[in-house]
């Protein structure tokens, strides 16, 4: 056995004292200690010697692993009068605001009235949703030569959250020119995912004048 090894063999076992302290910054916000390479929290540590002695040993102040990311939006919440950090959650389409979507206004033939009698909706079932399907059209009174808005709507409750594509026929009867399909959903009333829609009806054949 070499001399160095014999010296090691003659060493006595010793105890290692590990002291864990809470580190606080000047505002009193405690900062959890980091794991390997993370170092302590912000603020001067009570254990800190004055001045850096070995740059290679300087650890980080706080920090995270950086393995998972989220979209952060700094926002001032009016009713709470607070500045917070919000996020758009792409796993939850139950939007917290009212939503509406107006489809194209349809000109079947200039000056012709149409009778819409059905709406077809193809959608993906993302969960229970309550929404309204409506069709509006302008009806021209030939005697007074004035138009009024005709409207029909139906409230629907659909969905179980199976994630599959479903179809739905909705009976809606409206007469007039330029029919327009609209979908509205009140705030927090569930996730809606539209794939396709269709207006079904007949065009009036009578002479215009």
């Amino acid at each position: 056995m070499s001399k160095a090894l014999s010296n090691i063999a003659s060493l006595k076992p010793c105890k290692l004292l590990l002291e864990i302290r809470q580190i606080s910054n000047t505002d009193g916000n405690s900062i959890g200690s980091r794991g390997t390479g993370g170092g302590g929290g912000g603020g001067a540590s009570p254990l800190a010697p004055k001045g850096a002695s070995n740059l290679s040993l300087i650890t980080s102040t706080g920090g995270i692993n950086g393995t998972s990311s989220l979209l952060l939006v700094p926002i001032y919440i009016t009713h709470l009068q607070k500045f917070v950090f919000a996020s758009f959650d792409p796993t939850n389409f139950n939007c917290e605001e009212d939503c509406f979507y107006n489809f194209k206004m349809e000109d079947m033939k200039l000056g012709r009235n149409v009778d819409v009698h059905k709406v077809y909706l193809q959608y993906r079932d993302l969960g229970k949703v309550t929404f309204t399907v409506s069709v509006s059209a302008m009806l021209l009174n030939r005697k007074t030569n004035k138009s009024t808005l005709n409207n029909a709507s139906k409230d629907l409750i659909l969905g179980t959250g199976d994630g599959l594509i479903h179809s739905k026929f909705i009976d809606l009867k409206v007469q007039g020119e330029r029919p327009q399909l609209s979908i509205t959903r009140k705030a927090n009333n569930g996730p809606l995912s539209i794939i396709a829609a269709m207006l079904v009806g007949n065009m009036a054949e009578e002479e215009q004048l």
């Binding site: 993370g38 170092g39 995270i64 919440i77 950090f85 996020s87 758009f88 194209k104 206004m105 079904v200």
Partner: protein, 391 residues
């Protein structure tokens, strides 16, 4: 698409959903556009109610206003997610989900702020964080201080452009090009001994190459500044694409190209210097992601890429500008590659503060080439939306 016999018809509406169209009357637009809609997102051929916005992380402990969020990885390979507020720099704690009310810890407070009205402009350079807040300081944090081995202050103001007189510089905008930090629309201490600060709205200042603490040209000729005297307007933003920097002005764009490491490291080419022209009208409407950047000019919203300029306002432009005209504060834009790592979707978003303390977001989904408006009645967005590490 219409299917008709003599009287029977079927009118179908199918993807791709192309968003708002206000360039033609409601009855003349193509069937996959909408004359008006709010709070929808088109993706994979489906038209969905938009992702839910909810509070994720609480306010800063002192209740101050956040003006910017970002993240950087320090020299120990530790990631820091930070928030710049009107009072100082904060970082997100690793255990923020477990300990409510202890989400943020203070890194350092600002000293003698001249003005903190503008959103923070943040740049990561050489494993460290640099940012400006519209005062005469260029703030720096390494992610390492203070710690058990160093009593150095956490947050330091480093752009001393006149060492002999101890004068500091800051800016409204900050960028990086050619291994040099760039201050744009500078604010500089003047008038010894009062050291009152002056705003040079046409000035661009740069540090010595690879030395972000050296700003005095008498110390290192690599540092210097340039005043854009040939143009009639003020600097409103900065974007780098490849080796070129683009200095945005209200009515123009100046190309900033690296040419040497000497006394004149940059060449400035005003793409146009006319009194009226395509420029960045709103100071915080510029946002970029990789080789693509977007900004709002007087006549349209533009996309800037290696291929040149492209108008993207399209058939939604007029509706966007009606809202921009109604803004009660400067709009803030963001460009983010995804909503989460599992939901990649490159988006350019212009957050417009509207009367009634609400935000109207105009979202341009780059893949779909479609604009959709989102309304948030919850409140006003105060900084850029950004995808940052949170765990």
């Amino acid at each position: 698409m219409a299917k008709q016999s003599d009287t029977y018809f079927e009118l179908t509406y199918e993807p791709p959903w192309k968003g708002i169209h206000v360039d033609l009357p409601d009855n003349k637009i193509p069937g996959n556009y909408t004359p008006s809609a709010t709070n929808w997102i088109p993706r994979s051929g489906e038209l969905r109610t938009r992702p839910r916005l909810s509070q994720l992380i609480a306010n800063l402990p002192d209740g101050s206003q956040p003006t910017g969020i970002n993240s950087f990885t320090d020299s120990n390979n530790i990631t820091h997610t930070i928030a710049v507020s009107t009072t100082g720099l904060w970082q997100l704690n690793s255990n923020w989900r477990q300990f409510k009310g202890k989400e943020w810890s203070l890194v350092g407070r600002f000293t003698n702020p001249y003005s903190v009205n503008s959103p923070a402009s943040i740049q990561v350079f050489l494993d460290q964080l640099y940012f400006v807040i519209g005062d005469f300081n260029l703030w720096n944090w390494s992610g390492l201080t203070p710690n058990s081995l160093s009593s150095l202050p956490a947050l330091t103001s480093i752009a001393k452009y006149d060492i002999a007189h101890n004068l500091l510089a800051g800016a409204v905008f900050l960028g990086e090009l050619n291994a040099q930090l760039i201050l744009l629309n500078t604010i500089e201490q003047q008038n010894i001994p009062s050291k009152a600060a002056t705003n040079f709205t046409q000035r661009i200042r740069w540090c010595a190459s690879g030395q972000p603490t050296v700003w005095d040209p008498t110390v290192n000729i690599g540092a210097g500044f340039n005043d854009e005297l040939d143009v009639p307007d003020v600097i409103t933003g900065f974007l780098t694409i490849g080796r070129n920097g683009f200095v945005f002005r209200t009515n123009g764009i100046t190309e900033m190209t690296s040419i040497s490491q000497g006394v004149l490291p940059f060449d400035f080419n005003h793409l146009w210097a006319s009194e009226r022209g395509i420029g960045n009208v709103f100071p915080f409407s510029i946002s970029g992601y990789g080789p693509v950047g977007c900004f709002v000019s007087t006549d349209d919203v533009y996309e800037l890429s290696l291929g040149g300029f492209k108008k993207i306002g399209g058939v939604a432009r007029n509706a966007i500008y009606v809202d921009l005209a109604a803004a009660i504060a400067p709009p803030i834009s963001s460009m983010f590659p995804s909503f989460s790592l599992a939901y990649p979707y490159l988006t350019y978003k212009i957050a417009i503060p509207m009367p009634g303390q609400i935000t109207k977001n105009w979202c341009y989904f780059v893949e779909a080439d479609a604009w959709f408006p989102w309304v948030e009645r919850t409140g006003i967005e105060t900084g850029k939306t950004i995808l940052v590490p949170t765990l």
